[in-house]
Amino acid sequence: MNRILEKQVLSDVTKLMVVEAPLIARKAQAGQFVIVRISERSERIPLTIADFDREAGTITLIFQQVGKSTEEMATLEVGDHFATVVGPLGRPTEIERYGTVVCVGGGVGIAPIYPIARALKEAGNTVISIIGARTRAYLFWEDRMRAVSDELIICTDDGSYGRKALVTEPLKELLETRGNEIARVWAIGPTIMMKFVSLTTKPFNVPTIVSLNTIMVDGTGMCGGCRVELTSGQRFVCVDGPEFDGHQVNWDNLLARVQFYREQERLALEHWRHKCRLEEVVAQEEARTSVATGR
């Protein structure tokens, strides 16, 4: 269990891993996530189940290297094991036949939006997808998204591929031209993107579901660290979510909370990089002396 069976480099900073996790694959549904721990010293980090194969007993994780844990994860190779893979956590996406829906995926958010778009398509919806990234190199799964979408709009911030725009631009146009058709919008990506998607859909009164990525520890409702403020009260993202009505979220509070450990995260990354460099130097040194002594 917990073994990495496949690793793909989707971009410089985005990796895909297929992990052996039969118990989780058996139950996983779109919208759910797992918590992984690399080793005994690692923190517990939440990652969306981007795909699963019940027969093969595997789940697919896609992650962006943003700090220590994800950098370290990127160094794992096929055959390595995670110390922990626990899940599926959170509530599944509420999939129904809504009519026409829009799925917005930003950056690594393309990974979690994919199973949702697929499930919505399978449920008979007309799916319009918008995917975006900073630059072309950070885009992935265009083919997969195309396969489950009736329409696919691609944006990059720098115009290196698709339209030069933020995802909110084509979304706004869609709402202006076909607003009455659109029954629901899903948005997954950086918190700031989900905030602006919610602000964009608000005047059109289109229900908007976002998948929040708060900081988590246990993922079972035990610590309250993942709590979020909605207009209807406080919720725990790991058990009540991760999907919520984007129009209810107190975004500024959320943005502040996910920044809380920034200084320590920087320290952790530096400490780790330093250690890695040191290990490299030691290894080189050892290689050299062993050559020198003829061992």
């Binding site: 517990r44 409702g221 403020e229 406080q234 320590q264």
Partner: protein, 467 residues
């Protein structure tokens, strides 16, 4: 027999000095030496009707084991304790003796009671020091399978008892390390994790399988477990933290005690960055609450480098539910107590980080339904406590994950699973429950007591099939 000479005070137990211990996570009391233990055990009056036994929720033969200690037969004392209590090294350290076995000790009328908890701890530690505890010979397998959900004191006790009866037991635990609150909540300086690991190891050696990283209600539902197992015991504890529901509670730097203690204990944030999980290190830390959890959080904050650690509690000192020893240790270590104080709002800075806790002062009014005088806020008495970290430790209730995924499971007030107290049976055939999940946040010894009742009832159910 000549009349015994009464020794008025407990034999003192050596402790790490406060100035030193606030810089480390090592255990505070060192425990008795054999000579001290024998001297303390001799203080017992060997009462004909020992009230102490009634005070102990699991009815340990206290005068019996004290007598064996007094005679120097420590192994005999250990064996006797084990008949009623599976985890004496733990309960000796964490039981609220002053409201249980010791408060009713005959000596209490005039003097200090016998230090029953310390002696229980002594015997358990002595036994552990003799080497690995051998497992008893097990009966032939019954072929019956039991799932135990949760690996806190309730879960590990029920698992051990059932394994000794020949049943095949699997524990499912949501976290990556077994032990429940004993691992993630109660800090090292009060209960060394070594002891918890020893108990868990013992259960493993009895043949119990422990599956970590398995969340019942998600990885598999209770119903699915029932298809594979002949009976299920729910020992999922009371892990859902309560919040105050006051403005500013979601500012950065406001933690539940569960989160704070889990980061430090389970995730070892005190070893950051060697371990990856960070925790905020406050300079001025305010902890809200007056129970063991609050004391643990406030004392942990000191060890994490706080210059000031302040406890805010809405009633007066006499009403604090924490163990006396914890309050006393906290005071020695310099924790400040702001009593009769009710928090009404957190205030933050531009970055959304907590910087002050606004409170009202209280006076004591009429007694409430718990018989304690109700704190009544004095209008206009608002004042603010500057702080850069706040920890909320006002209580917790059972996690709703299993109830919400098991609609047939009957739930009572405060989210507790309803059980028949004589058998710990729930409303679902084949499902038993005990410990904090059935009571709301209580004590280790009660959880263990429930587990022992449940183990008997489960065994009977497995043998007869009768519900």
């Amino acid at each position: 027999m000549p009349k015994k000479e009464i020794v008025p005070k407990k034999t003192p137990m050596a402790e790490q000095p406060p100035a030193e211990r606030i810089h480390n996570f090592n255990e505070v009391p060192y425990g008795y030496t054999p000579e001290e233990a024998i001297a303390e055990a001799r203080r017992c009056l060997e009462c004909k009707n020992p009230r102490c036994v009634e005070g102990c929720p699991v009815g340990i033969d206290i005068p019996g084991f004290l007598k064996l200690i007094a005679e120097g037969d420590f192994q005999g004392a250990a064996n006797l304790i084990h008949q009623a209590n599976a985890l004496p090294a733990i309960t000796g350290r964490v039981c609220p003796q002053e409201t249980q076995c010791e408060v009713v000790c005959a000596l209490c009328k005039k003097y200090e009671p016998v230090a029953i908890g310390r002696l229980e701890r002594f015997v358990a530690d002595w036994e552990a020091a003799q080497g690995v505890l051998p497992v008893p010979p097990l009966p032939p397998p019954t072929g019956k399978k039991v799932a135990v959900v949760g690996s806190g004191p309730a879960g590990i006790t029920v698992a051990a008892d059932l394994a000794k009866m020949g049943h095949e037991v699997t524990i499912f635990e949501a976290l990556h390390e077994p032990g429940g609150v004993l691992i993630y909540g109660i800090p090292e300086f009060r209960l060394p994790k070594e002891i918890v690991r020893r108990e868990v190891d013992y259960v493993r050696r009895l043949g119990v399988k422990i599956v970590t990283d398995f969340v019942v209600g998600r990885t598999a539902t209770l119903e699915e477990l029932l298809q594979e197992f002949d009976a299920v015991f729910l020992g999922t504890g009371a892990g859902l933290p309560w919040f105050l529901n006051i403005p500013g509670e979601n500012l950065s730097g406001v933690y539940s005690a569960n989160e704070y203690l889990t980061r430090v204990n389970l995730m070892k944030a005190y070893l950051f960055p060697e371990y990856d999980t960070p925790v905020a290190r406050g300079r001025r830390v305010v902890t809200i609450g007056g129970g063991n959890v609050a004391m643990d959080a406030a004392r942990t904050a000191l060890r994490m480098g706080a210059e000031e650690s302040i406890i805010v509690y809405r009633r007066s000192r006499e009403e604090m539910p924490a163990r006396l020893e914890e309050i006393h240790h906290a005071e020695e270590e310099g924790v400040q107590f702001m009593l009769l104080t009710t928090p009404i709002a957190f205030h933050g800075d531009e970055q959304g980080r907590v910087k002050e806790l606004e409170c009202l002062r209280n006076e004591l009014g009429e007694p409430d339904e718990s018989g304690r005088r109700r704190p009544v806020a004095i209008p206009g008495s608002n004042f603010r406590i500057p702080c850069d970290l706040a920890i909320i430790a006002i209580g917790q209730s059972p996690n709703p994950l299993i109830p919400t995924t098991t609609p047939q499971l009957k739930i009572g007030k405060g989210g507790v699973v309803i059980v028949d107290e004589k058998t710990m049976k729930t409303s679902i055939k084949g499902v038993f429950a005990g410990g904090d999940v059935a009571t709301g946040g209580a004590t280790v010894i009660l959880a263990m007591g429930h587990a022992r009742i449940a183990a008997k009832a489960i065994d009977e159910y497995l043998r007869t099939g009768e519900w």
